[in-house]
Symmetry: C2
Subunit: 340 residues, 2 copies
DNA sequence: AGAGGCTGCGAAAACGTTTTAGTGTTGAGA
DNA sequence: TCTCAACACTAAAACGTTTTCGCAGCCTCT
């Protein structure tokens, strides 16, 4: 086990001062070419690499950013992380991943343990719990300490900071419009409870699209899911009690499970019943039939969020000109809807 | 924006020495209760938190561990990460996620940038590229520097270190046995090329199970996939040219795609044809019909790997008594196989 | 009253680096 | 020969901690 080389070691071995070594390593013009060569050769030989922690302490920069998300076992979030990691690496940053598991407490703890010098900035998507509690003091605290924070996907209006979001209302509007154009009239909606901003916005898009198309809104066609374990039963209820010719699910799971129920009940898809999901995951891609879906471009969202954070870190424009970037969605037509 | 509180600040404000503050914060017996109270009250008031970087430098410990994986957009890997994160957090460590994207070069670069003080140890699953090249110098280097390394899932025999693996051969043996017990005789195998140790081992389990059951091996029933984009065609070829009553896929995607092809060709599942996949992802769960699958317990694997690494970090038993832990698999019977 | 032992605190080193502000030697110009 | 600049290098501070050692002052024994 080789001992770790430090500048100090090199200085001692080469019988020069610490400062000389440091400057030689950075090709400073203060140092003679002879010395530079000597030092760099020695450093290379012994595989010297500057200690990152020492650099961080000196520069007050860690080149680390934290991304705090509710869950990692979700295609959309992993795409976002991929995007973040990709962009961050490109710009010389490392990514520390923290999971809140949808818990307010864990979100707070994670932010506190990270905010003591370990990282330069935060990338955050709020937990359900936090959204419910509407308690954002931990975000305020971090921002007050001067640590940049960029929120993505699950955000709140109560905090002023950079944000990257999907235009959920529009995306959902487009999906419904797509169904209507393809000839559907009675469109069921499977969504989340309203405290998830995403569910609320997507519901709104649904409502607006129906309105603009002159189709009356039927509340009985809207199913709100709180916990995933009630999903199947609520969908069965829907099929038992209502008639409809299309289903829009605010995520791919909802759509796929509904599609399966339709399949079991002998509906022809998409001739008798059409389906659109949200978020282009593996489920949509390999469902039977394959699911038409709203693509959220998670990778791009991650890249953009990372870029916004790092820009703020490096440009340091604290002039609170916070921006909110909207990631466009698109519809990927597959087998579960009729061609327009 | 509040200025960051440091020990130095507190010392100055309270007109005591730096050492006194430090000791007071840790309730040292050297300091009078009066002073302790005074210091702690002040610290709390100004929300003092010790700077992690300074601590890292002093202690030569960062309380960070890196996990380097080939891909994050995979259910199995996200489960592993969840497990790692969970255990690491429990033990007071943060997790830095690095992605190699199956590239040897990125794996090397990631390890080098991490190994300069940023982390205390590595959790690693090898990239395909590295497995192909069989070049492990970067691992040796890291180990030589005295940095603990725990490999999981995709490992190599050429490197001595702690490992956590699935007993792939046995898992696959069990799956095939399951099919045989349920009455299947001609079982197709959809696997990866042999350089992926996982594909190789699972193939071996398949071979052994057939042998032990006295079923002759038919090489034509084995399909090897290299790139995912050739998957569908190779499966179609299989259906075109061979007859069989069961399919075992070495991951869930292979099994699901094959099942879909069977579905399209009108086979009754599982009566006429059975399917088993590997790794209990979302695809298996929501496939139609739901897919019987070998559960790998990724979360547990992550937890165990994290624990092994942290144990080594804290106990510091460098006596090279490297262990290899084997995570047991189990079979989750769903709709795609006949009950035994 | 002197020796010894607590008590409560401070000075300084150490972790590994960069950077600012010198310092000594050399050579050239006056 | 004196001065000044250029050159090549070094000393020391700084980043924020912890920890070892030392040192007063006071008390208690004998």
């Amino acid at each position: 086990m080789k001992k770790k080389m430090t500048i100090k070691e090199i200085a001692r071995e080469l019988d020069v001062s610490i400062s000389t070594v440091s400057k030689a390593m950075s090709n400073s013009s203060e140092i003679s070419q002879d010395t530079i060569d000597k030092v760099q050769a020695f450093a290379k030989l012994y595989n010297y690499k500057p200690n990152n922690i020492a650099l961080s302490l000196k520069n007050k920069k860690t080149k680390n950013i934290a991304v705090l998300i509710p869950e990692i076992v979700h295609h959309f979030f992993t795409m976002i992380i991929s995007g973040i990691e990709h962009k961050a690496n490109e710009l010389g940053y490392n990514v520390i991943v923290c999971l809140s598991n949808e818990s307010f407490d864990k979100e707070v703890i994670n932010m506190e343990t990270m905010a003591n010098g370990s990282i330069d900035g935060f990338l955050l998507s709020l937990s359900k719990d936090t959204l419910l509690k509407k308690d954002f003091h931990h975000l305020r605290e971090v921002i007050n300490q001067g640590m940049p924070l960029v929120m993505f996907d699950r955000t709140t209006d109560e905090i002023y900071c950079d944000k990257v979001i999907i235009d959920d209302a529009r995306a959902s509007y487009n999906a419904i419009q797509h169904l209507i154009y393809s000839g559907c009239q009675r469109i069921a909606l499977i969504t989340t409870e309203d405290y998830i901003s995403i569910g609320k916005l997507r519901t709104q898009g649904y409502v607006n699209a129906l309105y603009d198309a002159g189709i009356p809104l039927d509340e009985d066609l809207i199913v709100k899911i709180d916990k995933d374990d009630e999903l199947e039963n609520k969908i069965k209820d829907l099929f038992d009690n209502q008639q409809f010719d299309a289903v829009f699910g605010v995520n791919e799971l909802y759509a796929v499970v509904a599609m399966r129920e339709a399949h079991n009940r002998g509906f022809k898809i998409p001739q008798e019943m059409s389906f659109i999901g949200f978020s282009d995951g593996i489920l949509s891609k390999y469902a039977y039939p394959t699911l038409t879906t709203v693509i959220q471009h998670g990778f791009e969202m991650g890249e953009k969020a990372a870029k916004m954070l790092i820009d703020r870190l490096e440009k340091g424009d604290d002039d609170s000109s916070y921006r909110t970037e909207v990631i466009k969605t698109s519809i990927l037509q597959r087998e579960s809807t009729k061609p327009i």
